[in-house]
């Protein structure tokens, strides 16, 4: 059997296409050097100054180059030349946000979402981020909740950002933040590291000592190499003034290091850890 593209005529067309593509490639692939690409767009614009697509494209390049004012100018120019594409409206909001003009950003994203019927997850996220910067935490939370519930593939970073907004809205609301972490663990996998780390921080910051210690134990039991976790747990035990338990944890850290495979024993990270253990032991 043949694949669709195995057809001979297509094969010839394809070969021609490849040749043409190769010839073109020299220019197309001179990537990375943004300045060069911006200059190239500027040249194209000088040739067809009424082409709103070119202004949009140069705006994107300026945005990548962290030249937000110029990016915005190009976006607005593109719009004035008749660009009614939704993507442009989104970029206008985004570049306002990046430039720190949150009120303008909110205005643009609101009109974007109105046109769209507010189902665009990416735009909702930007709206939440803008609202957060404006201190409208309740509204921001509401928008972000939509993101969490509707994003196809959530990242741990999204859950952590949501937690930040919860705590910005009410810094005593550790329960809601912990709930968000737990729901994140359900969605992304029960051992997702950055969520488990945030859980530890939340427990420590809210003074839930025994639960925080359980969380250290979770790391100890979940991980193959424990020396760093024993030390971290010892630091916390010392911090909450439980020196004997801290010493036990440090002894277990030292015991673990002694039993490490030879190849790890002289690694800089382990040598540093040994010093840290020694100095903490001396303080206890």
């Amino acid at each position: 059997m043949f694949y669709k593209k195995g057809n001979m005529q297509n094969g010839i067309k394809k070969a021609l296409f490849i040749v043409m593509f190769s010839l073109l490639s020299a220019q197309v692939f001179g990537h990375g050097d943004l300045t060069k690409r911006i200059n190239e767009k500027t040249r194209e614009i000088s040739e067809s100054p009424k082409d709103f697509r070119l202004y949009y494209e140069r705006g994107l390049l300026y945005q990548q180059h962290i030249e937000y004012t110029k990016a915005q100018e190009d976006y607005l120019k593109s719009r004035s030349l008749g660009n009614t594409d939704k993507a442009l409206q989104y970029r206008i909001a985004e570049v306002n946000y990046l430039a720190g003009d949150y009120n303008a950003a909110l205005k643009s994203i609101t009109s974007y979402l109105e046109v769209d019927g507010s189902s665009d997850v990416k735009a909702k996220k930007l709206e939440a981020q803008i609202l957060f910067e404006l201190g409208a935490y309740k509204k921001s939370l509401y928008a972000y909740r939509y993101v969490i519930d509707n994003m196809r593939d959530l990242r741990p970073e999204d859950i952590l950002e949501y937690c930040d907004i919860i705590l910005a809205e009410n810094d005593k609301n550790q329960v809601a933040a912990l709930d968000a972490i737990e729901s994140g663990l359900k969605l992304l996998g029960p051992n997702t590291l950055s969520l488990q780390l945030r859980k530890l921080d939340l427990l420590k910051n809210s003074g839930q000592i025994e639960k925080a210690l359980d969380q250290y134990n979770y790391f100890l039991l979940e991980y193959d190499r424990r020396e760093f976790w024993y030390y971290k747990k010892a630091m916390y035990l010392a911090e909450i003034n439980r020196p004997k338990e801290a010493i036990i944890s440090l002894k277990l850290a030292t015991g673990t290091i002694d039993r490490l495979d030879m190849k790890f024993k002289n690694m800089n990270a382990i040598l540093k850890l040994k010093e840290q253990i020694k100095s903490l032991e001396a303080q206890l």
Binding site: R155, D258, N266
Partner: protein, 551 residues
């Protein structure tokens, strides 16, 4: 339309010419059957290979069921995995496989086989169990996605290398893509012509891994993990292939034999210290027990090619934020792309500065290079191989190898580089026994001409023969050593000076919980679970705490 007879003739021809070195421009399948009603447009290709599982993906022109038939013998694919859901984007996970074992497979739907290889070139070899010391070959491909003749020449040079090399001929355990796999914007169409249509022969017998490049990122969105890059690849978010769960396909790790591979996203994800990717990478590298650590990310830590690591923010951040941490924890090899050239460093450690501050003459803080041979070419037949051992576990080679599809020059004068070439090519990494209980990591840069223009070796001692006497002798708790325990025995004995009198003994388990109290000098530990314990001994003179492993 071509006449059916011609078609069959063509098919016969392609069956004969089908081998790993075949370099036809279009995917050609190998069965001689009636033309199926459903056409495989993409794949099959292999993802997230583990010792016991692999994911097979392919695309069909019309929605149909997904079937993978597989087995250890080519003529008898007796097992199958089926999904009845009608789809064009097929993704089938095979599980319960035996490690280090070759499984032939074909793909199809409920009624017929849609793609197979009668010559046995469609297979998966499952990963060895983590920690296994054996020969491993990885093909390293940076910035390939031009879909042009250059990309094909580089590919063919590797195919020719692997098919004619003297040892482990034809074996490619994995493909490591360094990003920018499909220009110009990483769209699905571009991925078809620059990725699937180019490497289809290797994809059906070698697992492909990647990190995100800036050109992939035009179409892919890490924030939503959507777009072609994230659709095409299925990477382990929950440490399915070893390592630490990252919860995202943007950065992840996996184990293969005794190698730990970490793939980072240097484009979209925050590269700041203390942010999620950094925290994850730190925990991940500090949890591995593997002999070799390889890290890949797109934006080069060191480069003076078409990108400059002295002035571009992503490159600077990867170097300054991630490299000190990765080096301190034993990274051996760093693979980057983005600059379309080949730049390969000396055996370096702890530099992380600008290009012109790197010096072979540097001596403070151990210098910029490692060991007696670190300043040299790393060649066995040259200045000598780079050396790592338990007394000297630091040192890494950085390779910026982004010329698998095109070259684009630059100053190419980074001082950390032993060699900088504005030439097309890809790299091969081979890990092999050194015959002395250690292993060699041999890297070769294979030009599009087939010429090997650079190579070097990192030798690591004590890999295949590890120090069994790892249970510490007298050095534990050197100040006292009051606990005497011999592995495998039931009794633990407290020893002390004649003038000391034991008051009590407390035993804490590996999470510091008190599990046993005693007043005796000899304690039966036969019923205690194996593992590490802390023993607290109180005598008239004071309290001592020591650790012991009961086994």
């Amino acid at each position: 339309m071509i006449k059916k007879s011609t078609l069959i003739l063509l098919m016969l021809f392609t069956v004969n010419s089908f081998s790993q070195t075949a370099t036809a421009d279009s995917p050609i399948a190998t069965s001689i059957k009636n033309t199926p009603s459903v056409v495989v447009e993409r794949g099959p290709y292999l993802q997230t290979g583990t010792p016991t599982s692999v994911i097979v993906k392919w695309r069909t022109d019309t929605a149909t069921e997904s079937v993978v038939n597989y087995g250890k013998e080519l003529g008898s694919l007796t097992k199958n995995e089926t999904s009845k859901v009608l789809t064009t984007e097929h993704e089938v996970a095979l599980s319960g496989l035996t490690p280090n074992t070759k499984y032939y497979f074909n793909i199809g739907n409920a009624t017929e086989v849609l793609s197979e290889s009668v010559s046995g070139d469609m297979y998966v070899i499952t990963a060895p169990t983590p920690g296994t010391d054996q020969f491993v070959r990885a093909w390293i491909i940076g910035d390939p996605g031009t879909a042009n003749a250059f990309q094909r020449q580089v590919r063919d040079a590797y195919y020719n290398y692997v098919d004619t090399t003297a040892t482990n001929t034809g074996k490619t355990d994995m493909m490591l893509f360094l990003g920018d796999n499909a220009y110009s914007t990483g769209t699905d169409e571009e991925y078809q012509s620059a990725f699937f249509d180019i490497y289809y022969e290797m994809f059906k017998k070698s697992v492909a891994w990647s990190c995100l490049g800036n050109h992939d990122a035009y179409s892919a969105d890490s924030a939503t993990q959507s777009g072609p890059y994230y659709d095409i690849f299925t990477f382990p978010k929950e440490a399915e292939a070893g390592g630490t769960p990252s919860g995202t396909e943007a950065y992840f790790s996996f184990d293969y034999a005794n190698i730990h591979v970490i793939s980072l996203d240097s484009h979209h994800t925050s590269r700041a210290i203390g942010d999620p990717m950094y925290n994850w990478a730190l925990s991940d590298i500090q949890n591995t027990t593997q002999d070799w650590i390889v890290v890949l990310f797109h934006h080069p830590a060191y480069s003076k090619g078409s990108h400059d690591s002295d002035i571009e923010d992503r490159l600077i951040e990867m170097r300054e934020n991630f490299m000190p941490m990765l080096e301190a924890n034993g990274v051996d090899l760093v693979l980057n792309g983005h600059s379309h050239s080949y730049e390969r460093s000396y055996f370096i450690n702890g530099h992380q500065g600008l290009a012109n501050t790197f010096s072979l003459e540097e001596i403070t803080n151990g210098g910029n290079t490692v060991g007696a041979t670190g300043k040299g070419d790393g060649k066995e037949d040259g200045d000598g191989v780079y050396q790592k051992d338990s007394a000297q576990p630091e040192g890494a080679v950085y390779i910026t190898t982004g010329s698998a599809g095109h070259i684009s020059g630059g100053d190419l004068n980074h001082q950390a580089m032993y060699i900088s070439l504005n030439k097309l090519g890809s790299c091969v990494m081979e890990i092999e026994d050194d015959g002395n209980g250690g292993q060699n990591m041999v890297i070769k840069f294979i030009r599009e001409t087939g010429e090997i223009e650079d190579y070097f070796t990192i030798n690591k001692t004590g890999v295949t023969i590890t120090d069994d006497a790892n249970e510490p002798k007298a050095e534990v708790g050197a100040e006292s050593k009051k606990v005497l325990y011999v592995a495998g025995h039931d009794l633990l004995t407290i020893t002390m000076d004649r003038n000391e009198r034991l008051k009590k003994v407390k035993i804490y388990n590996n999470i510091g919980k008190l599990v046993k109290k005693s007043r005796k000098k000899t304690i039966d530990v036969s019923k205690m679970p194996k593992g590490m314990y802390a023993i607290e001994i109180t005598t008239k003179n004071g309290t001592y705490i020591e650790s012991v492993t009961i086994e």
